[in-house]
């Protein structure tokens, strides 16, 4: 294969609620991704996601404005419960969804056999991180697009785009998970709820904030201290891979996996477009619709600017992280590893 001609990447934007979906569509998202109110999606949080009626209305809203709706069926059905996932796939086909984002073999196989017209996007939870793994999914399930794990450098992505027979989607903004997604049982070890089976990483029901006598604030997940913040320190949500721990080789607590930073690939945008990436994903179905609106609008403008041959105002995109720490993650250099 030859290097593809410059393609205009689609923006793939998160929606945890119908209001957020409308905000994303109005801000210029070509694709919006969202899920149902159950364990079939990896943001199975209280008060979030779509009822079948809301999904139907939202798909109509998006289609009337030329946007596509991708449905997240990106968790792994445990034995005995596969029907819930296949039912949601059938429902999505009935509602005219544009694609299902899938991680499990059984779910992909069901869609391939029963809804051959439905596009399958391979979820990041499937952890396909090599041309061979991706090619296997394409061969077996006719996957149309793969969402790449957030562990590859731009040059690795460029090499991959040339080698694989499907579209490539990369994360450019949002929460920055450290473990290979789809291969992490940390939450289950602590809370008994599985990220892969129940769709929850650090479920809020298990989270507690605890004011200490010395003015510090402890964050706990099912009683396990994930971090402790001094009086003037900014506190974070207790996610195990963003916690602070003690190790013999270190003096005092340190972020054993990663600092609590979020991904912002703004500065890499032109390079990623040149690498031939087909779609840019923005993380954050659990985020507010104001966040969705602001981030989508900013990246919409940046992508359009690059495609017009101009320099995007990267400072505006960097400012989106609002004073929080951010990183280009693995994209920039393999020293991240």
């Amino acid at each position: 294969m030859t290097t593809p001609a410059p393609i205009k990447p689609e923006l793939v934007c998160p929606a945890g609620t119908p209001a957020a979906l409308r905000a994303a569509v109005d801000a210029g998202a070509e694709n919006v991704y969202c899920g149902y109110q159950n364990a079939t999606n990896a943001r199975n949080f209280a008060g979030l996601n779509f009822t079948p009626d809301e999904m139907a209305q939202s798909i109509r809203y998006a289609h009337e404005r030329g946007s596509k709706v991708l449905i997240t069926l990106n968790t792994f059905p445990p034995a005995g419960k596969v029907d819930l996932w296949t039912d949601m796939a059938d429902l999505s086909a009935r509602l005219g969804a544009d694609a299902c984002i899938v991680a499990d073999i059984a779910v992909a196989d069901h869609i391939r056999r029963h809804h051959p017209q439905m596009r399958i996007h391979l979820s990041v939870q499937a952890a396909a991180s090599s041309p061979e793994a991706i090619a296997w999914y394409v061969r077996e399930f006719d996957v149309k697009r793969v969402v790449l794990p957030r562990i590859m450098t731009v040059s690795e992505i460029r090499g991959l785009v040339d080698e694989i027979p499907c579209e490539v989607e990369t994360f450019i903004f949002g929460n920055h998970g450290l473990m290979v997604e789809g291969r992490c049982s940390l939450t289950a070890y602590v809370t008994g709820q599985s990220t892969n089976m129940d769709g929850a990483c650090s479920p809020a029901a298990c989270v507690a904030y605890e004011q200490q006598d010395d003015g510090s604030l402890a964050t706990r997940l099912s009683g396990v201290m994930i971090d402790r913040f001094a009086a003037q320190e900014t506190a974070g949500y207790p996610t195990i891979c963003k916690g602070r721990y003690l190790a013999e080789a270190r003096d005092g607590g340190y972020y054993a996996f990663e600092e609590p930073v979020s991904l912002n690939a703004a500065t890499m945008l032109p390079e990623l477009i040149r690498a031939g990436v087909h779609a840019f994903k923005i993380e954050g179905r659990q985020r507010s619709r104001a966040y969705v609106k602001k981030v989508v609008a900013a990246f919409r403008e940046a992508v359009d600017t690059v495609m017009a041959g101009d320099e995007p105002k990267l400072a505006d995109l960097v400012a989106l992280t609002e004073g929080q720490k951010h990183t280009e993650g693995a994209l920039k250099s393999k020293t991240w590893r």
Binding site: G16, T17, P18, A19, A20, F45, A46, G47, L48, T51, E54, P203, A204, A205, V207, A208, Y209, Q211, G215, L217, F229, A231, Q232, T234, A235, G236, Y237, Q286, R287, S288, R289, A290, Y291, K294, E322, G323, Q324
Partner: protein, 180 residues
């Protein structure tokens, strides 16, 4: 900016949300809050479905720079939103959300991104974290921001107050970003 929560946070000054507005007395506040919550509920019936099992729970909203706290029960059949004094025991609640009035307001205004606030120490959540996350998600999925609905009830002065509060929230955000 950090608001450390104490059990008696009102002591550090009972000011209104804006320099020009003194905090209204409780007896004026009660019918006003009842009207607000009825209006918001009437405009957003889907909100209660989103609250699911948490719709019947009691929440305590604690604007630490005001002389009162707010008690909310977002139950469509027994809607309750009222100001309670700081003297005596707080009413029973599953979760308490404390913060400055301005920060709590930002959370209610879906035109503003309150996420950063939510899990920072600007807001202190005690009790059932899931119930609070659920409430916040439900408040975010409304057709018109609740802040607009409320402001519109007061006509042009209401909209002016909303603009002022938003610009105050903006100023606060910029001040925070300027910090290293």
């Amino acid at each position: 900016m950090t608001t450390s929560q104490t059990d008696h946070p009102a002591a550090d000054g009972a000011r209104g949300p804006l320099p020009l507005l003194p905090p209204p007395p409780l007896f004026l506040l009660r019918p006003l809050l009842a009207r607000i919550v009825r209006k918001v509920a009437a405009r957003n019936p889907g909100m209660f479905a989103r609250l699911g099992p948490h719709a019947g729970e009691h929440f305590l909203i604690d604007p630490v720079d005001m002389p009162f706290m707010l008690h909310l029960r977002p139950d469509p059949d027994a809607l309750d939103f009222r100001a309670v004094g700081r003297r005596g025991a707080a009413p029973p609640h599953v979760a308490r959300i404390s913060g400055t009035f301005l920060n709590l307001f930002t959370l209610m205004d879906s035109e503003q991104d309150g996420d950063a606030l939510f899990f920072s120490r600007d807001l202190v959540v005690t009790g059932d974290t899931e119930a609070v996350v659920c409430l916040r998600n439900a408040l975010d999925d409304v057709e018109e921001p609740i802040a607009h609905t409320v402001a519109a009830m007061f006509g042009p002065p209401g909209r002016l107050a909303l603009d002022l509060m938003r610009s105050a929230a903006d100023t606060r955000r910029r001040r925070e970003e300027a910090q290293p």
